[in-house]
C-alpha cells in the first residue's frame, strides 16, 4: 500500500470557539474603551470650563477598591477553572466556576451600594449621566460574562469536561478577563481620578 493511499489524518482545527470569543471580546472592549474616552473627554471639557465634575465627597474610593480586589481575585478563580477544564478535573472546575460567579454577584451587589451611596439622578448633570452610562455598561458586560460562566457551569454539571467544554471555559475566561480590565479602567478613571 502506498502512503498516498492512506486515509488523511483528521485536520487539526485550532480552537474555533476561543478564536471567535477573542474577536467578540475585542469588539466589546473597544466599545467600552470608546465609552470611557467620551467620559474622559467630557470631564476634561468641564475642567477646562472650571466646572465641578462630582460634588466632593459623593464618590468614595472604599467600595470601588473593594470591587477591584474582588475582581482581581476572580481572575485567579476563572484561571483555576480553565486549568481544571484542561486537566479534565470536574470537581475543581465546578468549584472554581461557582466561586467566580459568586465574585461577580458580589461586585453587582457592591455597585448597588455605590448607587445608593452616591444617590445620583440620571438627569442630574453631565457627570451623573455619564457615570451611569459607563458603570451601567460595565454591569451589563459583567452580567453577560456571568451568563457565559453559568452556562459552562451547568454544562460541567451535566457531564465530564471534553475538548469542546474546555474551549468554552477558556472563551468564558477570556471575556471575564476583559471585564476585569474594563473595571480597572472604571476604577482608575471614574473612582480614583474622579
Amino acid at each position: 500500500m502506498r502512503t498516498t493511499e492512506l486515509p488523511a489524518a483528521e485536520a487539526i482545527r485550532p480552537r474555533t470557539v476561543v478564536v471567535g470569543a477573542l474577536l467578540a471580546t475585542g469588539a466589546a472592549f473597544i466599545a467600552f474603551a470608546a465609552l470611557v474616552s467620551v467620559y474622559v473627554q467630557q470631564r476634561q471639557q468641564a475642567a477646562a470650563l472650571g466646572e465641578e465634575w462630582f460634588p466632593s465627597g459623593t464618590v468614595e474610593l472604599g467600595p470601588a477598591g473593594m470591587m477591584m480586589m474582588t475582581l482581581a481575585l476572580s481572575i485567579v478563580t476563572v484561571q483555576w477553572a480553565v486549568q481544571a477544564a484542561r486537566a479534565e478535573d470536574r470537581p475543581h472546575g465546578f468549584i472554581a466556576l461557582g466561586v467566580t460567579l459568586m465574585f461577580g454577584a458580589a461586585v453587582i451587589n457592591q455597585f448597588w451600594f455605590v448607587y445608593q451611596d452616591t444617590a445620583f439622578a440620571i438627569d442630574g448633570g453631565r457627570a451623573e449621566l455619564l457615570f451611569y452610562a459607563v458603570t451601567g455598561s460595565f454591569i451589563a458586560m459583567l452580567i453577560a460574562a456571568m451568563a457565559m460562566v453559568t452556562v459552562t457551569t451547568i454544562r460541567s454539571l451535566l457531564g465530564p469536561f471534553g475538548r469542546d467544554l474546555a474551549h468554552a471555559v477558556q472563551a468564558s475566561a477570556l471575556f471575564w478577563h476583559m471585564c476585569v480590565l474594563c473595571y480597572f479602567l472604571v476604577w482608575y478613571v471614574v473612582f480614583i481620578t474622579k
Binding site: 485536520a11 474555533t16 469588539a27 466599545a31 470608546a34 467620551v38 438627569d123 451623573e128 451601567g136
Partner: protein, 528 residues
C-alpha cells in the same frame, strides 16, 4: 488528491467552479430543512448568505427610491419642505438614506457574499458558527425593520426643529434598531473572520488565502475596530436622550444625534465598505482572464493597507472642535493615502490582465466589466476624498463628503453584482449576463454622475452645506443628481431582477434533480 497537488489551488478551484454544481455542504445533503422552515432553521451559511444578499438588494431598492425623492427635493420641482411634509421629515429621510445604504444595503450585501464564498475558498465545509450566522441575519433584519419603522413613525437620528409627543420615544427606538443592526453585522463579521482564521484547510497559510477571503478578514477586523465605537456612541446618546434635561448633546430638538454618528458614513470609516471591493476585483479579474498574480503577497499588503486606512472610530469630531481633528495631520494623511491602495490595485489588475488570456470574450465578461467599473468608482471616490482633506480647497463640510459616500456605495454595489456573476453557482445560481451587465452599467453611470455632481456642488458652495439644500439655484447640477439617483435605483432594480432570475433557475435545477433522483429510486425498487 495527491501529495503534490496544492490544497490552495484545489479549494480555489472549488470556489471558482462556475458552471459546475456548487459543492454541497453538509447541511444541504443531510436532512436540511426545506420549504418555509429553511430560512429560520438552516445551518448552511451559503443559504444565510443568499438571504443577506436578496434582502439587502430589496432594501437597497427602497433606499434608492428615497434617494430619488431627496434628489427631487433639490430641484425646483418640489420644495424640500413639501416633499415629506416638513423640513424635519426631510432630514429624517436624508439621514435614513445614508444610514440605510451603509447598514442595510452594502455591508450586509458584502457579508452575505462572504458567508457563501469564504468557506469554499478556504476549504471549509461551512462557516465556523453556522447558527451564529443565521442569528446574525435575523437580528439584522429585525433591527432593520425597527430602524425603518421608527424613522417612518417620526423617530430618526435627531430633528432640525422641535419634536413633539412620542417622537422622542421613536428616536429611542431608532437607536435600538441601529444598535441591533450593528451588533448583528459584528456577529456576522466574527463568523467570517473565525472561518478564515481557524477553518482553513490543512496546508493553507494565511498568506495563501484567496484575495476575497483575505479582504473579508481585513474587513471583519476593520468592522470590529470601528462598529463597537458606534455602539458606545449609541449608549451615550440613549442615556442622554433619557436624561435630556441634564446635558445638551443628543437633545431631540437638534440634529446632534446624527452628528454623533455621521462619522460612520464619512471618510475614512466609509472605506470600510470598500475593502472587500478590492478582494472581489482581484478575484473576479483573475478568474476572468484565468491568471494568478506573480506577487500574491503584494495583494495582501494592498488590501491590508486599505483596511488600515478605513479605520474610522477615531475620526468623529463631535466631542472636539471639528477643526482640531479634521485639519490634523493624521486625518489629512489618511485621506491622501487612501488613493495609494486603489492605484496599486489597478496596477495589480493590469498585471493579471497582461499575464492572462486576453480573448475578447474574457475581457468583456461580466465579472471583468464589474471589476473595472467598481475600481473606477472607488478610485474616483478615493480621489475626491484626497481632494476633500486639502484645506485650501475648502471641501470638508460640503457635499463633496457625499461624493465620496456615493462613489464607495456604488463601487460596493457593482462589486456585489460582479461577485454574483463570478461565483454564481455558490451564491444564487446561474445569473442572466445581460441583466447583470445592465445593472453594472446603470450603477456605474448613476454612481459616476452622483460623484461628479456632488463634487462640483462642493466646489461652488459658498458655505458649508452638507444637505446641499442651498444649491437649489443650480438647476443643471440638481438635474444631474436626479438622473444619477434614478440610474442608481434602476441599477439596483436590475440587480434584484438578476438575483431573482438566478434563484428561479437554481430552484428549477434543484427540482429536476430531485425528480431524477426519485425516478431512479423508483426504477431501482421496481427492479428489486
Amino acid at each position: 488528491m495527491t501529495l503534490t497537488e496544492s490544497p490552495v489551488a484545489e479549494s480555489e478551484a472549488a470556489a471558482d467552479a462556475d458552471g459546475a454544481a456548487a459543492p454541497a455542504s453538509p447541511a444541504e445533503t443531510l436532512g436540511a430543512p426545506r420549504g418555509l422552515a429553511q430560512p429560520f432553521m438552516t445551518s448552511d451559511a451559503a443559504q444565510v448568505g443568499r438571504l443577506f444578499v436578496v434582502t439587502s438588494l430589496l432594501l437597497g431598492l427602497g433606499a434608492a427610491a428615497i434617494g430619488v425623492l431627496l434628489s427631487l427635493g433639490r430641484t425646483d420641482a418640489v420644495a424640500p419642505d413639501d416633499l415629506f411634509g416638513g423640513l424635519n421629515a426631510y432630514f429624517r429621510m436624508w439621514t435614513l438614506y445614508r444610514a440605510s445604504l451603509v447598514l442595510l444595503v452594502v455591508l450586509p450585501l458584502l457579508l452575505g457574499l462572504a458567508l457563501a464564498v469564504v468557506p469554499a475558498q478556504v476549504g471549509a465545509g461551512n462557516v465556523a458558527f453556522p447558527r451564529a450566522a443565521l442569528a446574525s441575519f435575523w437580528s439584522w433584519l429585525i433591527g432593520a425593520v425597527i430602524m425603518v419603522a421608527s424613522v417612518l413613525a417620526g423617530g430618526g437620528w435627531g430633528a432640525l426643529d422641535g419634536v413633539t409627543g412620542n417622537e422622542s420615544d421613536a428616536m429611542a427606538l431608532t437607536l435600538l434598531g441601529t444598535g441591533l443592526v450593528i451588533v448583528a453585522l459584528l456577529l456576522g463579521a466574527i463568523v467570517v473572520a473565525t472561518t478564515v482564521i481557524s477553518l482553513r484547510q490543512t496546508g493553507m497559510s494565511l498568506l495563501d488565502v484567496p484575495p476575497f477571503s483575505w479582504s473579508m478578514l481585513v474587513t471583519a477586523v476593520v468592522w470590529l475596530f470601528s462598529l463597537p465605537v458606534a455602539i458606545a456612541n449609541i449608549i451615550v446618546i440613549y442615556a442622554d436622550l433619557r436624561g435630556r434635561q441634564a446635558i445638551a448633546f443628543g437633545r431631540p430638538e437638534s440634529p446632534d444625534i446624527w452628528l454623533q454618528l455621521d462619522w460612520l458614513v464619512e471618510q475614512p470609516a466609509v472605506y470600510a465598505m470598500a475593502v472587500p471591493v478590492l478582494g472581489i476585483v482581484f478575484s473576479a479579474v483573475g478568474k476572468a482572464v484565468d491568471a494568478r498574480s506573480s506577487r500574491p503577497e503584494a495583494i495582501l499588503v494592498v488590501v491590508g493597507l486599505f483596511g488600515l486606512l478605513a479605520m474610522g472610530g477615531w475620526s468623529q469630531d463631535y466631542f472636539t472642535a471639528p477643526q482640531d481633528l479634521r485639519d490634523g495631520l493624521v486625518y489629512v494623511a489618511f485621506g491622501l493615502a487612501a488613493v495609494v491602495p486603489v492605484v496599486a490595485t489597478a496596477g495589480g489588475v493590469g498585471e493579471l490582465v497582461m499575464r492572462g488570456s486576453k480573448t475578447r470574450d474574457r475581457l468583456l465578461s461580466t465579472p471583468m466589466l464589474g471589476a473595472g467599473a467598481a475600481l473606477k468608482l472607488l478610485g474616483a471616490a478615493a480621489l475626491v476624498g484626497a481632494l476633500r482633506v486639502i484645506e485650501p480647497l475648502d471641501l470638508l463640510e460640503t457635499s463633496a463628503t457625499w461624493a465620496v459616500f456615493h462613489g464607495v456605495v456604488a463601487a460596493g454595489l457593482i462589486a456585489g453584482v460582479a461577485a454574483l456573476a463570478t461565483w454564481s453557482q455558490l451564491l444564487l445560481g446561474p445569473i442572466q449576463q445581460r441583466l447583470a451587465v445592465g445593472a453594472i452599467m446603470l450603477l456605474g453611470v448613476g454612481g459616476g454622475l452622483l460623484v461628479l455632481a456632488d463634487l462640483i456642488s462642493g466646489f461652488i458652495a459658498d458655505d458649508p452645506d452638507l444637505m446641499a439644500l442651498a444649491l437649489d439655484g443650480n438647476a443643471a447640477l440638481n438635474g444631474v443628481v436626479l438622473i444619477g439617483s434614478l440610474l442608481l435605483a434602476a441599477g439596483l432594480a436590475a440587480a434584484l431582477f438578476a438575483a431573482a432570475s438566478a434563484l428561479r433557475a437554481r430552484a428549477a435545477r434543484e427540482r429536476s434533480e430531485l425528480e431524477r433522483e426519485s425516478g431512479a429510486r423508483a426504477a431501482g425498487s421496481e427492479a428489486a
